[in-house]
Amino acid sequence: MINSPFVRKPASVQQVMLQVLLALVPGIAAYVWFFGAGILVQLTLASAAALAGEAAMLAIRGKPKALFLSDLSAIVTAWLIALTFPPIVPWWLTVTATLLAIVVVKQLYGGLGQNPFNPAMAAFCLMIVAYPALMSQWPAAGQLDFSSQLQLIFGGIRQVDAITGATPLDALRTALRAAANPDSQLHGLRASQLMDGPAYGMLGGKGGEWVALGFLLGGLWLLQRRIITWHIPGAFCLALAASAGLLWAVRPEGFASPVFHLASGGAMLGAFFILTDPVSGATTPRGKLLFAAGAGVLTFVIRAFGAYPDGVAFATLLMNLCVPLIDMNTQAPVFGHKKD
């Protein structure tokens, strides 16, 4: 028996996920333009692995396969994995990471809607701990053509150290630490001077800043489509910029500028696509602000003082842990119980 309401808005999980995927396209286009088509290979690999893993788990769990495979949520996870990993990691690493995300982090917890952690970020953290070297080799913009990228992805022995470097975020931190050392050649140089090299662009890393801009554009579109609300991207960017800005204002020679932080690494992807994952994120308006602000501060702390190239993934997982507590304590007063 079907009860009221008898009418429904034409909305579905599939449509939501499809719009998220579409919103990623501008960023991906910039990625291809500056770093080569290798990323497309990674996206395809990850998508195939995600669908295969999801199908297998749905079969084991006795869930309707067509319904859940077509909801596109696995593809979103796959794309976020491909976009946060270095574009030249070997194929088996992408596949393993995606399978871990889908099989362990998502399906073993109960599938769509049940995972307490963001699957893509959990996979990123697992992989960077397991394969720190492979996960830290980033080609500079325009450095590798498509065939050498393919060779790196599918080839056997890698001579990667010679051809790739760290991310601009990583490199700048290393340089800043050197600058603080009186014995170093770089001693006394400011962040702005250190950023004079060919690896850097106007705001962040060369090329990388354009990719970030692409994600920002897509994110704003999601905002306009009301798929996400302003709370998470707003609070994340503000907290990241504020914590970076505070230390930068006090000691500009020791820290990168807030703009650099916003334009580099996974900041934009995190703000609009990763932290906004509704399943693993906070849900109340106030909770979203707290959740994203915490992630912003943690991202900066990990970037500035930690050992990993970027902090978004760890910050996301740490804040995912806090979500039940945040949600429970930020329930808005209901109708008639507000104090205006």
């Binding site: 009221s4 319904l67 109960g110 769509l112 109708f335």
Partner: protein, 565 residues
């Protein structure tokens, strides 16, 4: 004059479908062959039947008398012969029956003698009794007896009387047409209500998708020369016609769940109710008909003036139901109830007969898991977090669901409407509420049983003790007698002994009894405090919901809806 309007949180904008049924004026319906008039049509006590099979009744004759502190009378909608007073199918999803008076019209449609009253000179208490006996109840759908609401709050006067002409549900246009065609008479009803409530101002809220109605009411106000009455166009957003939402929009006041709006100086009535009050006070005509919209899967959607008790298919026939019709819905598509048959009677709560078909209201796509996207929370006009209540309802963690304010849910359907996972959220909340009601009822009946048991124990104890004391006294007396016989003449100590013992024994017993009584009283009060708010004086629909659930529970071993089955 422009008024500052307030916003309520959430709400949705479904397609309104109102234009179709407003092209033609309200039509009359020919007398049906048979009227089935349920006695229990309003919130409150079950009216007792005043007629028996074979009786001749006149139009407007009382056939069900108000019974209890909150109850409303029921009348014959036309003249004829009472064929039966028996249970008949009621217009409710459950398919349950209710005691109804079945009248065969004689075709004369002759009014009986009607009481008349002058509302300006009659004391309010008598007016209220008059309206109770005229069967005037809220026609917006809640069917709450109007007389009970026509009391000003503690201060003896009201700040704002809100008249609800918002009509936010899609398809329904009965209030719209009533305002267009009968604004003058409706306004006279409003003036009478204002007088009874001593209301400072009157605000008539009408959604701005009904410009004709707004204009008609404004013209009526201007023509009447009344001051302090204003027709206000409010933004069209479902559920702006919810009483609490409308009060919020017009006055900024939020009336919390479980509180009376008169505590905040506001009272709210539907426009149709105002018209019925006018009919009752001006002509003494009780509530025997109402305007009903017939819309949906019909050739000519239209509004009809329908006698209470008319079988629905008799009305729908006039609009021409299409062949693929598979159901009637009473009310709108957002909150309406699917009916168990086509020939159930039109009752006072019937604002719309929505004719449905699989094409018009297709079954929802398969239910997906909740992704916590929060769309439901964004749409909820009660500022609830439906997805949280959903988890708790699903896991039957009803305590937690109540912590998240389950009972503040007005079941407007906005959450189900927007859910991208197609989860029937409102169904989960209805399920939880009825489970909680059932448990509270079980608890109160087991409490009563325990009280009886405890009192029985106490009584048996007491009787035992009394018996023992009696025996002891008897034994003592015997002993004394023996002693007295032995020591003849020295009676003084023996006579004193029982005298000292006697007052001591009852006083100890009295204290104990007082203590027990005090403890029982305390326990009773504690229980009264934790008693549920919502188990008494439920509306007929809610009661039917509960009955239906009870029946289902009895039938199966209480399996909850398992959506992923």
């Amino acid at each position: 004059m422009l008024r500052k309007l307030f916003k309520f949180h959430g709400g949705v904008k479904p397609q309104t479908h109102k234009a179709e049924s407003t092209t033609q004026p309200i039509a009359r319906v020919p007398l049906p062959e048979r009227l089935v008039i349920p006695l229990h049509q309003a919130v409150g006590g079950h009216p007792r039947p005043l007629v028996a099979p074979g009786d001749k009744v006149f139009k407007g004759q009382r056939i069900g008398g108000a019974d209890g502190s909150l109850s409303s009378a029921v009348h014959a909608s036309t003249s004829g012969i009472v064929r039966d007073v028996a249970p008949a199918l009621m217009p409710h999803t459950s398919g349950l029956t209710t005691l109804s008076v079945i009248i065969e019209p004689d075709g004369e449609d002759r009014w009986g003698e009607l009481d008349k009253v002058n509302y300006r000179t009659t004391p309010p208490d008598e007016l209220r009794d008059f309206l109770r006996d005229a069967g005037v109840v809220g026609l917006g759908g809640a069917v709450f007896p109007s007389y009970a609401k026509l009391k000003p709050g503690k201060e003896g006067r009201l700040k704002t009387l809100v008249i609800n002409g918002a009509e936010c549900e899609p398809f329904i246009t009965c209030d719209d047409l009533l305002m267009r065609e009968r604004a003058d008479d409706m306004l006279k009803g409003i003036v009478a209500m204002r007088h009874m409530l001593q209301a400072e101002e009157v605000l008539i809220g009408i959604e701005d998708n009904k410009p004709e109605a707004v204009a008609a009411v404004q013209a009526a106000i201007a023509a009447s020369g009344q001051s302090g009455i204003q027709a206000v166009a409010i933004p069209t957003r479902y559920p702006a016609g919810g009483a609490k939402q409308l009060i919020r929009v017009l006055t900024g006041i939020e009336v919390p769940h479980g509180r009376r709006s008169t505590d905040f100086g506001v009272q709210c009535f539907n426009v149709g109710t105002a018209y019925s009050i006018y009919e009752a006070l001006e002509f003494g005509r009780p509530l025997i008909s109402r305007v009903v919209t017939v819309a949906g899967n019909v050739d000519q959607p239209r509004n009809y003036e329908v006698l209470i008790g008319t079988p629905m298919d008799h009305v729908v026939r006039l609009s021409g139901a299409r062949p693929d019709t598979d159901r009637y819905i009473m009310g709108g598509p957002m909150m309406g109830v699917r009916l168990p048959a086509f020939d159930v009677p039109v009752v006072k709560a019937t604002n719309c007969i929505l004719v449905g078909s699989p094409a018009l209201f297709p079954p929802p796509p398969p239910e997906m898991p909740c992704i916590r996207c929060g769309e439901c929370a964004k749409a909820c006009p009660a500022d609830l977090a439906p997805f949280e209540m959903y988890w708790f309802s699903r896991s039957k963690n009803f305590g937690k669901a109540q912590e998240y304010h389950l009972f503040d849910c007005i079941e407007c359907g906005c959450c189900s409407f927007v859910c991208p996972s197609h989860i029937p959220l409102v169904d989960y909340f209805r399920f939880s509420k009825s489970e909680i009601w059932a448990r509270e009822r079980d608890k109160s009946s087991s409490d009563a049983a325990r009280d009886r048991f405890e009192f029985k124990n106490f009584r048996q104890e007491r009787e035992k003790q009394e018996k023992a004391e009696k025996l002891a006294a008897k034994a003592a007396a015997t002993r004394e007698k023996v002693a007295a016989d032995n020591q003849a003449g020295t009676a003084s100590p023996a006579a004193e002994a029982p005298d000292t013992a006697k007052p001591a024994a009852p006083s100890a017993e009295d204290t104990k009894r007082a203590l027990i009584a005090a403890a029982m009283e305390k326990a009773r009060q504690q229980k009264a405090q934790v008693a549920p708010k919502n188990t008494e004086q439920l509306s007929a629909e809610t009661q039917a919901d509960i009955d239906a659930i009870e029946a289902r529970r009895a039938a199966s071993a209480a399996t909850p809806p398992t959506p992923d089955a």
